[in-house]
Structure formats: C-alpha cells, structure tokens
C-alpha cells in the first residue's frame, strides 16, 4: 500500500513539473506582455525599458531557471499588471470560485442522482427517455446563453434575483444553474450507466428472485458501488469547471473567480499570474484525483494491482 501511495505522489510531482514547464514555455512562445499590457504607441527605447522592468530581458533559459527556483522558494513574483504578489491575487479569487464550485456540485448531486436512477429503472419506458433528454440539454446549450437568458428573465424582467457578485445566498442561484448544465448532464448519464451495470450483476438476480422491489435493490447495492466512482467523476470535472465553463459564467455574474483571472491574465500575457494560477488549479485537481485514486485503491484491491 505504501509503495502505491509513494508512486502516486511521484507521479503527481512529475505531472506538476510537466505543467510548470509547459506553461512557462507556452506563455513565452505566445507573445510579449509589453504588447498587451501597456505597449500601445510607445517608442522602441521605451519598449526595451519596460521589457527590462518586467525582467524579461534575460535569456529564456535564465528566466526558466529563475522561475523554477522561485517555485521552490515559494516566491512566485509580482503580477505584471497589478504589481502585487500573485499568490495574493490568486488567493483572493480562490474562495469565490470554490464557493461556486461547491454550490454547483451540491446542486448537481441532488438533481442528477435521482434522475440517473430514474432513467436506469425506466430505461425502456418513456420516463427514462424524457429524463435523458432533459439531462442532455445541459450539454447542448453554451452556458453563457443559459446565463444571460436567466439574467434577462429572473433579474431584468421579473426582478426576483440579484445579478452581480456573490453577496447573498440568492446570488448563487443563477450562476449555479448556469454552470451546472454540463455537470448535471454528465453525472446523470454516469449514474444511469452505473446503475445499469449494477442491474446486470448476479446479486441483482438473486435479490430480484427473493422478491425485493427493484428500486430498493438498486438503491442498496447500486449507490454503494457507485459512490466512490461518483466522487472521482466530480474530481475530474473540477479542472474544466475551474476555467473552461466558469470563465463565461463569472463574467456574466461579475463573480470574482479564478476562471476570469486565468483567462484575463492569459489574454494580457501576465505570465506570473497565469503561471501561479494554472499551478494552483493543477495542484488542486491533481490532489483531488490522487486522493480519489488512493481511496479507490483502498476499497478495491484489483485497482491497486492494475495500477501498481
């Protein structure tokens, strides 16, 4: 078991190193921040002045070395734009993002698991089809369309819900709905399939032969078997939620989250913020995935063997 944990940790370290390196060189390849931050209409000398000011005048190897050592010393540098420590900036954004993420995950679990079970039990009837159709809608519409429509209906027209920021519980309703679409679709589908897996197991036949109603059997055996796997699906969703899906939702609801920060710093080539932000998200995702893997390995020795 210990070797397994150690292996997982080593793999994490390698992955993080890969990410740090990839992000470092990808950003350098993609352009100079001076052309994005305040490069409009300045003279050549001034441009050189600013490049030196941002510490971008040394060779890329030197910069990379400096960056790696800064990662190990925990000094991640100043934002090019805001001139304050990037850790402070990312930290400021992490909590609002986390709150929205938790809210979305809770909402998703509450909605998707019953829907998935329903779709499995009634897979041959119309109920099952309807459930899946509804769930698929989550995949089918860009979240910013859902978000803006929600805003126009519930805030602009009906004036029921606030639209800006994360001040109160009411503020969470629309962003949660907008951001959860794909998550609901994914988890509903997953739950249904997991339940179908369970339905084909031998003990289900036994249970059914004993005359227990199918839904009791499903709940009892199915959910227990599916729970850890469910956790891992949620873990996998975090990376995409952290920026892919959430940047648009954060933008619509003026939510001071990390997705908005990452995309903005990428567009403006604010390398220090981008590097630290990606690293933070990656650490979170990898840690969650690793924790799930380890928990899973405890529960199921076969995985341990397969992975080891």
């Amino acid at each position: 078991m210990l070797t397994y944990v150690l292996r997982t940790l080593l793999r994490m370290a390698i992955t993080l190193f890969l990410i740090v390196t990839l992000v470092f060189f990808a950003t350098r390849l993609s352009g100079n921040p001076v052309d994005f931050v305040l490069g409009e209409g300045i003279t050549k000398e001034d441009r050189a002045l600013l490049i030196a000011y941002y510490g971008l005048d040394s060779s890329i190897g030197t910069q990379y070395w400096r960056y790696l050592s800064s990662v190990f010393s925990g000094e991640f540098g100043l934002s090019f734009l805001e001139r304050r420590p990037v850790s402070e900036i990312v930290l400021e954004r992490a909590w609002p993002s986390l709150k929205l993420l938790l809210s979305a995950v809770c909402f998703t679990l509450i909605v998707s698991i019953p829907l998935g079970i329903l779709a499995a039990i009634y897979r041959t009837s119309i109920i099952g089809s309807v459930v899946m159709v509804i769930a698929f809608l989550g995949y089918a519409v860009p979240s910013f369309i859902i978000g803006i429509l929600l805003v126009l209906i519930f805030a602009y027209t009906l004036n029921w819900l606030p639209v800006i920021g994360d001040g109160t519980a009411l503020h969470f309703i629309m962003p949660t709905l907008a951001i959860s679409g794909t998550l609901v679709a994914a988890i509903t589908r997953f739950t249904r399939n997991a339940m179908l897996d369970v339905l084909s197991q031998d003990y289900m036949r036994t249970a059914r032969a004993k005359g227990l109603p199918e839904w009791i059997v499903i709940l009892k055996h199915g959910l227990r078997n599916a729970s850890i796997t469910l956790l891992s699906v949620v873990g996998l969703q975090i990376a995409s939620l952290a920026a892919a899906g959430s940047v648009v939702v954060e933008s619509i609801f003026a939510w001071p989250g990390i997705g908005d920060l990452l995309v903005r710093s990428a567009i403006l080539r604010d390398y220090p913020v981008l590097q630290f932000g990606v690293l933070s998200v990656a650490v979170a995702v990898i840690a969650i995935n690793a924790a799930v893997d380890i928990a899973y390995a405890f529960a199921d020795p076969r995985i341990r063997l397969a992975k080891g």
């Binding site: 994005f36 490069g39 209409g41 003279t43 050549k44 001034d46 805001e82 803006i148 933008s251 003026a254």
Partner: protein, 515 residues
C-alpha cells in the same frame, strides 16, 4: 459667478441631506492599478479626478479653456522658461498630512526626472520639455522648462502631474526615508491624494471605493460613498440598473440605447467623447509604400454611413484631425480626409494594385463598435476592389512590421492638438519609433513651430502644414469621435462634462445630483 456657486452648493447640500448618498457604479473595466502618473489608459482615466488634484485646475463645464486655481492659487512666468507657483494653504492629503512644497516638487520631479520605467515612458511623450521643479519656500515652487513653453497651464493640468504625498509614498516600502521603485509599485495599490474623495478600498480589476474626504480644501463632495464595481457583461450591467445593484453603468453601446430609453426606470447620458477612433496604416509595409494605395484605403471608407448605421448619427465625423476642445487651434475648415470611392478606384489603378490581401487588425471588444466598423470597412473596401480581411487579436500589432492596417484610438490627453495628434505623430514619437510612420526635416520643422511657437497663428499654420503632409502620405484616418453613453436610474442626474478628457467619472460637487 458667486451666486451660481452658491446655488450649486445649495442644490448639492439638499441632495445630500434628502436622498441616498451612496451609489454604485457598474463599470465595464476597472483599473488594475491606481497611479495617475504612470497611467494614460482609457480605463484608468475614469478614476483619478475624484481623488487627486492638479496644481492648475480647469473649468470642465465648457469645452473652452478656462484655467482655475487648483492646488496652486497663482502662477506667473518669471522667465520664459521658469514658472513660479504659489501653493494653496491648508491642503491636506487623505492620510492627514499637510501638502507642502516638498510634496509638489516630489510629485513633479518623479515625472520630470523619472527613473522609474513606467514614469519614464509616460513622461517622454508629453513632459519632455520640463527640466525640474524646485522649492522656493514652503508655499512656493518653481518649475524649469528646457525651452519656452506655450502650453504651461495645459501641461500642469495633466493627470500625470497630479500631486501625491512624498513622505507617505517613501514610507510604503523598504527604507521609509529613501525613494525606491517599490514605493511607486506600492502606491499604485494604496493611492493617496488631495481630492474630495479618498480611495478607501481598491481591489485591482474589481472594485474601487471612494469615500468623502472631510478635510478637502474645496467644496465638499456630494456623495458619502461611491462603489465602482467591475461588471464586464453588457446584459448584466444593464440588468444591474433594473435590480438596483447599480445606479450608474458605463459603456452602453449605441445599439443598447433604445432599450434604456424605452424603460421608465432608466435613462442614458452621453457625449461624443474627446477622442478619435482611427485607422492606422503602416507606411513602411512593403505593399503599402505607395502613398496612393493608402490614400485609396482612406478614400474608400464612407465614414458618414458608419456613423449613421452604427452610431445612430451621434458620432462626429471630422474633416481633419481636430477637436472642438482645442480652442484657438480648432481648425474644422481643413479638409484632410474625405470619402471619394471614384478617386479611390483611380488611385488603386494608378498604383497598380494587384488584389493582394489587406489585413485590418482589431481587438475583439475593446472599442465600442470596433469589430462592427472593421467588418463594415471591409465591405466598403470591397466596393472599390480592395481585398480586405479582418484580423481579430488582443495583441497590440502597431509595432509589428507585418501590420498593414488596424484600428486604434487617439485620445485627447489634454486640450491641444499636441495632446491628441501631437502625442502620437511627433517626429521620433511613438508612431515613427514603432516603424509605421516616417518624418523628414520639413515635417520636423513644421512640428517644431506647431509645438513651441508662442504665436497662435503660427501654430495654426504649422498644424495645417502637418495635416497637408498627412493627407499626401497618410498614416492615419480618424474615423469619428465615438458617442459614448452611460446609463443610470431615472433619479440620478449625471452626465460626462464637456471639459474633461475622455471617460472621467466626475462625482465632485456640482457634477451629480438626484431628484
């Protein structure tokens, strides 16, 4: 005048006592730092006027140039290159410190003798002629220019030379008695000035909170507290007015105006902002070296149709690079730019245009209607046979030799042609230095006379010469003065004042009231 002042004071007093005096502003963009010295962005100019003062102030109710006492109560030239200013007594900074000649000298010299790169860059294009400021006594300072300066007041009214406290700034980082670059970095996160509002909270890119500064030297601020919040999405920003989460919102595109005007809860205020959206052309691009091609690109654009279609006719299409605000230097009679598709076709033929692709760079959302205008211009080019292609990117491409054409804005940084055209198109200025514009001795001579002559007529003549040069070998086409709008709740009375540089959110006494 006194009576008028009293009435406004009374009005604002009534407003203060009877109505809510806390407002929220929803802004499409919020600054990432707050330092008037290093900033000259359109986003930044929203934020400085409430919290900072200049030595010489200006009447912003009119486009005419009327200088007023600011932190200096009187000023006079004691030599052609030396201005002596008497400072106002009893001025306090937001941190409680008294403003002294030392602070003024410190603030000015941080720009005039800049060694902090962001200040160096900013000072170069407009403060080059200033040598230093020096203290005479506690309430007197002298400013030395290198050459006689026709624009003394204008250049002392700049955002970049707003006054900041010396001791406070030095104490922000490192050794409290020494000036380090880190002090300026820290200042941009915790700005302190002398204005009627102090910045009580600043989250870069997200929030700016102003609170009334009770020790302000002039008329007290009409609002207790103003919170500016970042609301990037148009639909959400407008909705925030409906839900009461905002009282004023910025950046309403012309196409949204009808929505605002049809709603009894909201209204809009706007003005043709003191800047030009321009198209710049790279005169050194191998395929654009022939001036006739560039003339054709310019002549093919029907700016009046752009104005009618995209701005509802509210933008202003100029005949030359001139703005009403320039006062005696305003020269609308010049015709530098016009629409003439026939001539464009002719010139293309003469120049032997072979149908090569012309790229037009634009950022996706930075300029109101920028992307729409870009696409419409491609269509107008196609009309005369030019094969144009829009290239959307966030990157500033104006310094790239591959850039052919792109959009840009040419703001009025201060009310003089030097503060608009002059900043961008000076000999060895940014455009030439970026390699997309050339000047020669003749141009430099005209420029010299336009910039430094003490005689207005000579300046006008020189500027006309420069415009003729631009017409013959065009590096730029001003498209229009965009009509920028703000929306607000019906009970708020606010509008951009005509005498400001673009986008200033002015909440000083007399600028906002409620009904």
């Amino acid at each position: 005048m006194t009576k008028l002042l009293a009435t406004t004071a009374l009005a604002s007093l009534m407003a203060t006592s009877a109505f809510a005096t806390e407002i929220t502003v929803g802004a499409a963009n919020v600054s990432s730092y707050l330092d008037p010295g290093r900033d000259h962005s359109n986003v930044g100019s929203q934020f400085y006027y409430n919290a900072f003062d200049t030595l010489i102030a200006k009447n912003h109710d009119t486009t005419d140039t009327e200088w007023q006492p600011g932190l200096a109560t009187e000023w006079k030239l004691i030599e052609p290159t030396i201005m002596e200013l008497k400072l106002r007594e009893g001025v306090k900074f937001h941190n409680g410190a008294d403003m002294t000649a030392d602070d003024v000298v410190f603030s000015l010299n941080r720009m005039y003798q800049a060694d902090f790169p962001p200040y160096q860059v900013r000072a170069r294009d407009r403060l080059e002629n200033f040598e230093k400021a020096e203290k005479v006594d506690d309430l007197t300072v002298r400013i030395h220019a290198k050459r006689p300066e026709p624009l003394w007041e204008t250049l002392l009214n700049l955002q970049q030379v707003m006054i900041i406290p010396e001791d406070y700034t030095k104490g922000l980082a490192g050794d409290p008695d020494k000036l380090e670059h880190d002090d300026f970095e820290a200042f941009s996160l915790k700005p302190v000035g002398t204005g009627p509002y102090k910045v009580s909270e600043f989250v870069p890119g997200e929030t700016v909170v102003w609170e009334r500064f009770d020790d302000f030297w002039g008329e007290k601020a009409p609002l207790d507290k103003v919170t500016v919040r970042h609301m990037p999405e148009t639909a959400s920003r407008i909705t925030a007015l409906k839900t009461g989460e905002a009282d004023i919102v910025t950046n309403i595109a012309p196409d949204q105006l009808q929505l605002i005007e049809n709603d009894p809860d909201m209204k809009a205020a706007g003005s043709a902002t003191a800047l030009f959206h321009v198209m710049i052309m790279n005169v050194n691009h191998p395929k654009l070296k022939d001036a006739r091609i560039r003339q054709a690109l310019s002549l093919a654009i029907d700016r009046d149709t752009l104005n009618e279609a995209l701005w509802g006719g509210k933008a202003v299409v100029p005949s030359t690079h001139t703005l009403e605000e320039f006062g005696e230097l305003y020269q609308p009679e010049l015709t530098t730019f016009e629409y003439n598709p026939e001539k464009a076709r002719e010139l293309l033929k003469e120049a032997g245009y072979d149908g090569f692709e012309l790229t037009y760079d634009t950022a996706p959302g930075y300029y109101t209607n920028g992307l729409l205008a870009a696409q419409a211009i491609m269509e107008m080019w196609a009309e005369v046979g030019i094969n144009g292609k829009v290239n959307v990117q966030d990157k500033w491409s104006g310094n790239s030799p591959d850039m052919m054409t792109r959009n840009w804005s040419n703001p009025m940084y201060f009310a003089d042609p030097f503060g608009s055209f002059g900043v961008m198109w000076a000999p060895n200025g940014p455009s030439e230095s970026e390699g997309r514009f050339n000047t020669d001795e003749d141009y430099a001579k005209s420029w010299e006379q336009f910039r430094y002559s003490g005689d207005v007529e000579l300046r006008r003549a020189a500027y006309a010469e420069l415009m003729e040069r631009i017409k013959q070998d065009p590096p730029v086409l001003p498209l229009y003065r965009p009509y920028e709008s703000w929306a607000m709740k019906t009970n708020v009375n606010w509008a951009p004042k005509p005498g400001h540089i673009p986008y200033v959110l002015d909440f000083r006494a007399g600028s906002i009231s409620f009904n």
